[in-house]
């Protein structure tokens, strides 16, 4: 399984020559590092997913001595690893450009957000195809707009407030609960993806 993650690193070699400088550039110009960290991590995770999504590549990976469980798991472990690399780059970048230590709370927030979103994106992409993600997101956005307009008119504000409180609160218990919930979500998503992938025909 470690070999599958190594495979993803080889696949990332070329794109990362673009991505890392771009990320550093974002940092240099003081663009919100929380959002760029989130964005870059998701881009990496999803492009690695789409490389492997072709049926020919599925044929290859499943013909090599790997189990389907390992193939899916490598994506989940890889996602964590690549997010940590991005966060680490941000930490270094912030320190170099702005002489500041990135708050651990922000780091946790990026990792948590990436994990949360990945938990939703991966099973969806395994079930359908990542090219339907855009459609999925649009549908989700439509539902969201519908909810805002008809049911909970101040949903936007609630979310904004929630994020704010999360970033400033000192309540350790609150952090533990959120962290724990995200971990549970991630684990459930992982199991769900294995379940979906196991039944696939190539």
């Amino acid at each position: 399984m470690y070999n599958l993650i190594r495979k993803d690193l080889i696949l990332l070699k070329k794109p990362s020559m673009m991505l890392i400088p771009a990320l550093l550039l974002y940092l240099y110009f003081d663009f919100s590092y929380i959002w760029s960290g989130f964005l870059f991590s998701i881009v990496i995770i999803m492009s690695l997913f789409s490389y492997d999504e072709k049926s020919s590549i599925n044929t290859l990976l499943n013909s090599l001595p790997y189990t389907r469980k390992e193939i899916v798991s490598s994506k989940y472990i890889g996602a964590l690893l690549f997010t940590l690399i991005i966060v680490f780059t941000i930490f270094i970048g912030n320190f170099l450009f702005h002489r500041e230590l990135t708050a651990w709370r922000d780091i946790l927030f990026i990792v948590g957000l990436v994990m949360g979103v990945t938990s939703l994106l991966l099973p969806f992409s395994y079930q359908f195809k990542s090219k339907y993600l855009m459609t999925g997101i649009l549908v989700l956005f439509g539902v969201y707009m519908l909810v805002i307009n008809t049911f909970i008119k101040n949903l936007n504000d609630i979310i904004r407030e929630f994020v704010q409180t999360m970033l400033v609160t000192q309540n350790v218990q609150f952090y533990l609960i959120v962290t724990f919930s995200i971990m549970i979500l991630y684990a459930c998503s992982w199991l769900l993806s294995i379940h979906i992938y196991r039944k696939k025909a190539f």
């Binding site: 696949l11 070329k14 044929t59 013909s63 189990t67 025909a201």
Partner: protein
């Protein structure tokens, strides 16, 4: 004799297509050629062998092991060549090797280099620029570099020029000098099989028609030619299928000796090609519907 591949009453439905009560054995130490028309179920069978598909019913064992418990162990011992390109197109062959090599405990860099040189493969060129023939050679080089005991190939010779097809058969002959190796490959170029196949497995519309030793086929099957006056309802039933023209008939039988006793010297009895057998079997199946 040991069976390397065993299908026991396998059933698999894929859309319109169905593999029905499919049993099959592939013998260790021999080359089995796998033939059948388009849509007969060759690729489905190969995917079942590779565990890319799982049977709806029945069981499959490879090296006497089942996939549920021994997936990795089985695949360590298989080398595969598919009809389509299954490598990452934007990578070079050298990068691709870097990805595949660590997956196998028995990877042998020396063998890989040998085949890369023998096949004149460019290591630093993107795979997307490879021709069909180069792609097959690259797959073959990878498939042969980890001392696999079982080589599975799906249409390895399609799209290859005749010279390389000969070269490929030489490589296969070389592999078969080792009696521990087994080769199973599908093809629709049946002349490839005359030189190398020990067993022929023939399927038609998801059904296993036969698996026979290659010399057995010419002992049992025959093309029979004769005048139309030889045919009547009864004699026609002796054949798998008959093709009639104004000049006479041509038919396939799976019981050469019986036909010889019926017709004696009145009919011409010839050795059939595999294509004859495929053609008449298909025709015969359409008849009986």
């Amino acid at each position: 004799m040991e069976n390397i591949i065993e299908f026991n009453h396998v059933q698999k439905s894929l859309g319109q297509f169905q593999l029905k009560d499919f049993s099959l054995t592939v013998k260790k130490g021999f080359v089995t050629g796998f033939i059948g028309g388009n849509g007969a179920g060759k690729s489905t069978t190969i995917k079942l062998i590779m565990n890319l598909l799982q049977p709806d019913r029945g069981s499959i064992s490879i090296f006497g092991l089942n996939y549920a418990e021994h997936e990795k162990e089985i695949k360590q011992r298989i080398g595969f060549v598919f009809d389509e390109n299954i490598f990452y197109e934007h990578l070079t062959l050298a990068e691709m090797k870097k990805i595949i090599k660590p997956a196998y405990t028995n990877w042998d860099e020396g063998i890989f280099k040998h085949y890369v040189e023998k096949f004149e493969l460019p290591l630093k060129q993107k795979i997307s620029s490879f021709s069909k023939g180069m792609m097959t050679k690259a797959s073959l080089a990878v498939a042969l570099s980890h001392h696999a005991e079982l080589i599975i190939m799906d249409e390895p010779t399609s799209g290859l020029d005749p010279t390389f097809r000969r070269e490929l058969l030489d490589v296969l002959h070389h592999i078969m000098e080792d009696e521990e190796k087994t080769i199973f490959f599908s093809t629709h170029i049946t002349t490839d099989l005359d030189r190398i196949a020990d067993y022929i497995t023939f399927i038609h519309k998801g059904e296993h028609i036969f698996t026979k030793k290659s010399y057995q086929i010419e002992e049992e099957y025959a093309i029979v030619k004769g005048g139309l006056d030889l045919l009547d309802q009864e004699t026609e039933r002796e054949f798998i299928a008959v093709r009639k023209s104004k000049l006479g008939f041509e038919a396939l039988t799976s019981d050469k000796t019986r036909i010889k006793t019926i017709f004696g010297d009145m009919a011409l009895v010839e050795k059939p090609t595999l294509e004859d057998i495929m053609f008449y079997t298909k025709k015969g199946a359409e008849w009986r519907v």
